[in-house]
Each structure stands twice: as structure tokens, then as C-alpha cells.
Subunit: 472 residues, 2 copies
């Protein structure tokens, strides 16, 4: 047992002696800071160091490392990190203006900036603890708008509600349907095209079918930047279908939303301004740091507060001396809520919209380079041309090349990625994910967006996959 579980009678010191010694505490904190800089930020970002240390497990996997291609939280931004340190030290709470006046205003301002990129000059929004929560809030808002009585009376007595999404959408759509009492069976999966994009014609048909079966469609949850393939659903054409059926259109742009900063790539989200809500996680592509997830709303009728409020009199007193509309806490299902805006605000102020656009554009250029190199090498087989910065590919080891016709080909191919992954982790050279998808056996998905990545790291990536897989 790691703790002393025998609880000794408290040795209560003098009532005038605080339990915290500031000098000692600040010395400890300074030493900890120096170790963090040395071990995590210097050594951890050095390509000559391992990405992970499997044997010793002496530290965690290092997502700051330039060869961490595993998930959408690679890299480090120092301005954002300074904002996070300040947030942690101030330790305040976004529920009332009283305790967090600057951050209440800052959150409003940052949300306004993000909404402007979506194309909205007004609206509402809130930072949530992650994209799943943002998506779930959108579901709850859509339901409340259609049936406000759900808040007080529940679903009891209402017809069956239906949500439409694609099989390549994030799993939080199903988690949300389960949590909200709607049920995962009532998330209707719309067909996708070869690129993993929702097919609007099939959406229209599925909505009609659902209605004919007595359900009440109320929400289409589309995706800008799907998790595995990085596909962008055709928002404009989906908006037409939503208009036709008067459904709430939600865009899960947790991953892809940051293309809105780029003049060159923002066309991928054309039509986003026609949505009712957009979820966008600056903690992914913009490297703001976990957690930084914005739910943006077109609504100007205070729907968020009406849907979520409980009007607790101990917290949201109406006889305060300032404008109580600045007490934004009742817009949230949470009570205590972390300040997630400061890190983004600081980074945005430091590098500007153009600096953030540059990161997005450079990621696309890196991906183009990586794909060209893959095509020049034997053994790398792309699922398809990437639309975003997810590159999905099989590595075909020499022993399997040209054997596509063999009966055991798919079974053997399915074992390649897990074996290479195990080897790379045990050697600590890099990290990249793999998964099956539909009838496609295990393939790698490399995510290229960290501002720490250079072309050398991409060359290394390809060489390393070959080195680890050539004997398979």
C-alpha cells in the first residue's frame, strides 16, 4: 500500500500557523518546474530520445516528441502551456463573473472569434470538457428545442426520437444517445462514399424511412474530419436535407475545425455556417492542450441557458450588483468548470490567425510529401488519397507482395500492423496507431500535424516502418 492508512490523531498546530509553508512550497515548485523543462520539454522533444520507454516504464509516452504520430494530441505550444500554468495556479471557476471576471469575458471573446471563422456574426457557445461532451450538449439542445417539456417531464410519453450520423462519425454520438435516454439503436447510420463521407441522398431516404416507421427525426450529426480517415462530410448538401426536414444540423468538427483558419483549406467545411451547432477542439490540431473544446451555436435565443439551467439560488443570486447575465455557469451541465479559454487566447494573441493558419497549411504540405514518398516505395499501400492530415495505409511486407490472391492474404495482412506497433513501442522509436474499418483489415493511420514535425521525421517514419516490418 502506498499510503499510510493508519490515520494518526491529527497534531493540530497553533491556529495561527497556516498548514502551508509558502517558502518551502515555492522552492519545491521551482525545482519541479526545472525538472519538467529539462526532462519533458528538452529531452522529451529531442528526436534522439525515445518516444516511449517500454521496459522501465519510468515515464509516460511522450506526446511532445516529434515522432509521436499516435493521436490528435501531439506537439507542444509554449504560449498555450504558459496559459495552462497560469490557469492551474489561479484555480478559478467559470461559473460566475464574481470569481472569474476576466475569464468570463475572455471566453466570450474567444468563442466570438471562433464563431466568426465559422461565418457567424452572432450566436452563443461554451467550452466543454472534450468533444464528446460538446457533441452530447448539441444533442440535448436539439431535443430541447423541439420538445422543451423533456427537461421537466422526461421522454416519458414522447414518440421515439431519431438521430442521423455516419458509421465513420465519432463514437460519442452513440455514447450521447445512450446517456440521453434516446438509445444507440435510434442513431441511424447513413451510408458513406468511398472516401468515408456521408451521402446526402441516403440521408434523405433514411429520414423518410424513419418517419414512415413512426420515429421523430430531430438531429443530423455530421463530421468535419472523421477520426480514422479524416473525411469531411458535404455540409452544404447535408444542410439542404436538414432544411427540407427541419432538423437540427450539428457539425462535429472536433478534429477538422481548424481548417477554418486556412484560406487554402477552409473550403472543406463549406456550408458549416448553415449548421445550428459546431463542436471544435483547439486542443487537437492547434495544440492548445487538453482540454480545449468549444461548442459553437448559431442560436441567439439563450437556448443553451434555457436548456441547461437549474437557477441555483446559492450561486446565481439575482440581486448581485453587476449584470447577472455575466454569470454564465448555468449554460453548462457542469457546476465547477475549468478555465479552458486562456491557453487558446494567449496562443492566438502570440502567433495570430496567420500563425495558426500556417500550422494548418504546413500539416497539409507534410502530408503531401509523405504520400508522394509512400508512392515511391514498395510496400506502402494507401487506402485512398487523404483529404485531410490522416494518412491511412497498409504496409505490405515483402513476403506478402503480389500474394493478394492467396486465401490467407487478409488474415496475414491483419497481423502486420499490430506486430510492427508492438516492435516500435518496445524499441521506443515512434508511435503510430492502427485499426480495422468495416471490411478493411488492420491498417496504419498516421496523423501529421504537430508543429514540431520536420521532413526528416517523415523520412524516418517510412524507414522505420520498413525496418520493423521487412521480415514479416
Amino acid at each position: 500500500c502506498i499510503y499510510e492508512h493508519v490515520l494518526e490523531p491529527a497534531n493540530l498546530r497553533d491556529l495561527n500557523e497556516p498548514l502551508i509553508d509558502h517558502a518551502e512550497g515555492q522552492l519545491f515548485l521551482t525545482q519541479a518546474f526545472n525538472i519538467i523543462v529539462e526532462e519533458v520539454l528538452c529531452k522529451g522533444t529531442d528526436v534522439k530520445q525515445k518516444v516511449c520507454h517500454e521496459k522501465e516504464e519510468r515515464d509516460n509516452k511522450n506526446s511532445c516528441h516529434p515522432r509521436f504520430f499516435n493521436q490528435q494530441f501531439a506537439g507542444v505550444d509554449y504560449h498555450a502551456l504558459a496559459g495552462r500554468f497560469l490557469t492551474e495556479t489561479l484555480n478559478t471557476n467559470l461559473f460566475t463573473y464574481e470569481v472569474a471576471p476576466v475569464f468570463v469575458l475572455m471566453e466570450m471573446e474567444v468563442l466570438r472569434g471562433l464563431r466568426q471563422l465559422v461565418g457567424w456574426t452572432e450566436g452563443d457557445g461554451i467550452f466543454c470538457p472534450g468533444g464528446s461532451t460538446s457533441n452530447i450538449y448539441a444533442m440535448n439542445l436539439a431535443r430541447y428545442q423541439l420538445f422543451p417539456e423533456v427537461k421537466s417531464q422526461g421522454l416519458y410519453g414522447l414518440p421515439r426520437l431519431a438521430i442521423f450520423s455516419s458509421p465513420e462519425s465519432h463514437y460519442s454520438v452513440k455514447k450521447g444517445a445512450a446517456l440521453l435516454g434516446i438509445g444507440t439503436d435510434n442513431v441511424i447510420m447513413v451510408k458513406v462514399d468511398d472516401g468515408g463521407r456521408m451521402i446526402p441522398e441516403d440521408l434523405d431516404q433514411k429520414i423518410e424511412l424513419s418517419k414512415s416507421q413512426g420515429a421523430v427525426p430531430f438531429l443530423v450529426s455530421c463530421t468535419s474530419g472523421t477520426t480514422v480517415q479524416g473525411a469531411f462530410d458535404p455540409l452544404d448538401r447535408i444542410a439542404d436535407v436538414c432544411d427540407k426536414h427541419k432538423l437540427w444540423m450539428h457539425v462535429d468538427a472536433a478534429w477538422g475545425g481548424s481548417v477554418l483558419f486556412s484560406k487554402q483549406h477552409r473550403h472543406l467545411m463549406k456550408g458549416a455556417d448553415r449548421a445550428n451547432s459546431v463542436a471544435w477542439n483547439p486542443h487537437k490540431m492547434l495544440v492548445a492542450g487538453l482540454q480545449c473544446s468549444a461548442l459553437l451555436l448559431k442560436d441567439t435565443t439563450n437556448l443553451l441557458k434555457r436548456c441547461h439551467s437549474a437557477n441555483a439560488t446559492y450561486l446565481f443570486q439575482q440581486d448581485k450588483f453587476y449584470d447577472v447575465n455575466l454569470d454564465i455557469g448555468d449554460k453548462s451541465v457542469q457546476c465547477s468548470r475549468k478555465v479552458d479559454c486562456l491557453k487558446l487566447w494567449l496562443m492566438w494573441k502570440a502567433v495570430g490567425s496567420s500563425g495558426l493558419a500556417e500550422r494548418v497549411d504546413k500539416a497539409f504540405v507534410h502530408v503531401r510529401y509523405l504520400v508522394e514518398q509512400m508512392k515511391k516505395r514498395d510496400g506502402f499501400h494507401l487506402l485512398r488519397e487523404p483529404e485531410f492530415v490522416n494518412v491511412c495505409f497498409w504496409f505490405i511486407p515483402p513476403s506478402l507482395r503480389g500474394k493478394e490472391g492467396n486465401a490467407d492474404y487478409q488474415d496475414r495482412l491483419a497481423k502486420v500492423a499490430p506486430t510492427i506497433k508492438e516492435r516500435m513501442m518496445k524499441q521506443g522509436t515512434m508511435m503510430v496507431g492502427y485499426q480495422p474499418l468495416g471490411n478493411k483489415v488492420n491498417f496504419f493511420r498516421v496523423i501529421v500535424f504537430s508543429p514540431l514535425v520536420s521532413q526528416k521525421d517523415l523520412d524516418f517514419f517510412l524507414n522505420e516502418i520498413e525496418r520493423l516490418g521487412d521480415d514479416l
Copy 2:
């Protein structure tokens, strides 16, 4: 507008030049760190400085200040803060063992330690982004255990479900009922005694009544440490009622849970081990820092994962080379999830269970001192003897003393607390909250638990209330 919204064509530098300059970034971070220590931790904890700066709004309200009595997030712990800096820098994610091996094991270990204090030798649990989320998870688990088909089919076709709680319970019970599609009307309010504690006999009667009206009771959400009065519901007697009716017993101990560290005061939660779930926020009384909220479960049947899982194949691959039960992410409704355990683990290791017990015990001693002093002074009128570290009182200004019989007495008394609050905030001398409750007009609630508080601060508190209110 604060940002440069004209998106310039990206000036894409050489592909081999990362977009982040580590030397420059680390210099910035170090300067930021020094400012944080100087401005927030040195000046901010100095009693000679203001708690808030209303006019200039040059910074936020300072919850580290020893005279911040406003809410349950006062104080600072340097070990926890160092853990938070490390968490922010590592920026990893608790969804898989692959990316956070040490923290997956650490979370399991910390949860085990907390469960042991509840009195459970086995069980399950998870850290959630706040106590509201922990309470809502408990509701969802209780519902799933009774009606597992809700997950796939929703509430459609099920009878009306009913939750039992007290009017003094936290508002998240209602928010959760709304979110889960159960409806706030189906949260049945059980009567409380004079101290704000749920009356088990009334609970039993309300359950019977609800059944007779065709509803299906499934959950009693009781409270250990209510938000306003700090009351502890009688858990042992409530457990008898839950046993009788076979209901899930949840204890919202977000605020009060930390008494479990104290030999002297843990009796307040006697019977907690008979509950099915306990929500406990070490970010409150233990000063671990926002967010640190544990949901603890007695369950050993993997209910948490069965209820919440979506089995995403891109993340939770079953052919990994390690024990995939260590991929704990599917226990959560979130996908990305912050590491909330490190700060608590580090603090716990540093000061031990006895050090945390001492903080709890000292808070009670401070409260006893404060109450004694109030009784010695005219003008301080307690709602009742405090059971915990919330002290609820009216300040009766000289002009109202002895005028209880006057027709406008309550109306005038109701205006006292808001006026004093406005004055203290504009002068920045301290912060304390007020609220009405039931038929009781606005009264102050002072929360005494910060390890930075000394007896001098309590004397100051009383003098300051008198100074600010004596002319009213």
C-alpha cells in the same frame, strides 16, 4: 477585434524547420513561471494584498488568498500544483494504457485508496470533470443496472422512472435528470429536518407514494455535506430504506467526502460503505485543484464499462500486445480525458493521510472558534450550529436589532448581505457568499477550510463584516 482576422497566405517555411522554437519557447515559459510565482503565489497569498481588484479588473479574483471564503476552491497546495504543471506539460490522455501507462495505474491506485476510506476493499471508479458529472454518471449506472436495454433502445416504452433526493441536494441532480431524459419533475424531493438532513421516514413514504402512482423508483441521491448548510444526510438509515426497496444508493460527497480522512469526524458519513456509489471531489476540501472529482463504485461486475462502452475499434483494439483491460477509456462517456489523479497522488504522498486528516480537523477547529466568537458579538445570528465547515449566519446591523417584530424586518434583512458583499468586493478586502434558502432570506455562508487560513483571518472576517455593515 483582438485578432488579425484577415487570413494572410501562409508563409510556409522550409519543411525541415519545425514551427516551434524550443529555446525561445522555454525562455518565455520560464519568464511566465517567474511572474506566476511572484504575482499569484507571493503577492496573491499575502494578506496585506487585496482579494479582488474591482476597479482596475487587472486580474482575477484570487482564490489562493487566505481571505477568500467565497466557495469550496480556496487555497493552494504546492505539491498538487507541481503535479498539475507536470500533467499539463505531458498533455497525455487517460483513454489507453498505450499513451498513459503510469497514469492508468496511478488512477487505479488512487481510486483504490479513496475506496478504502469509504470502506470498500474492492470496486471500481473513475475521475470525472467535476462532481456534477460524477453524480450524472451514478444516475446513468443505476438506470442501466435496472434496465440495461435503455442503452440501445432508450427510454421509449419504459415506465416513468423516479429519483429521490432532498431540496438541499446539489442542483446537478436536477440537471442530470433533465439530461438523461428522466425529467426534473421525476426528481422527488424528500423532506429535510431543521439541519437540512434528509428524513428517512419521509423517503420511505415518498417511495411508496411514487410506486402507487405508477412510477419506478430506482435511485436515492443523498448528500454528505450539502452545498449551503453543510448537512450530512443520515446514510445508515437511508441505506435501510434503499435495502427495503432495492434502490441504488448514491452519496454525493463532493464536498463532505474528505471527512473520511479524519478519525474524529468520519462518523458523519457512517453508512457510506452501504452505498452503491460515492462522488467525492478532492479539489474542494483537500485543495487538489480543479478538476479532481472521483466517482467511486462498489460494483465488481464491470458495470461502468458495460454501461458506457462503445467499443471503438480505432482506439480500443483487441489485438494489442498488453492486457487490454488496462485501456480504461471506455468506462467514460468522454473520449479524451485529462489526467486528474497525479495532483492528488503527489499531494497524498507528500503529506500522507495524516497530513490530509490534519487539514480536515483544523478546519473544524477553526469553525468552532469562529462560531464561539460570533456568539460573543452582537449582530451575528447563526441559522444553526454548523455540522460541517459551512457557517451560515445573518448579520443584523444595529438599526435592525430588536426589530424582529416589524413588518419590514425580513425585507430589510434580505438586503443586508448583498450590500455588504458589494462593499467588500469593491474594496477587495475579502470574499464570502450569501443566498436565500427556502423561506429564509439572504444570509451569509462562510466556508472555512483553506490550509492558508489562520485565526487572525477569522477575527478579521468578523471585524470586517461589522465594519461594512454597521451603518446599514
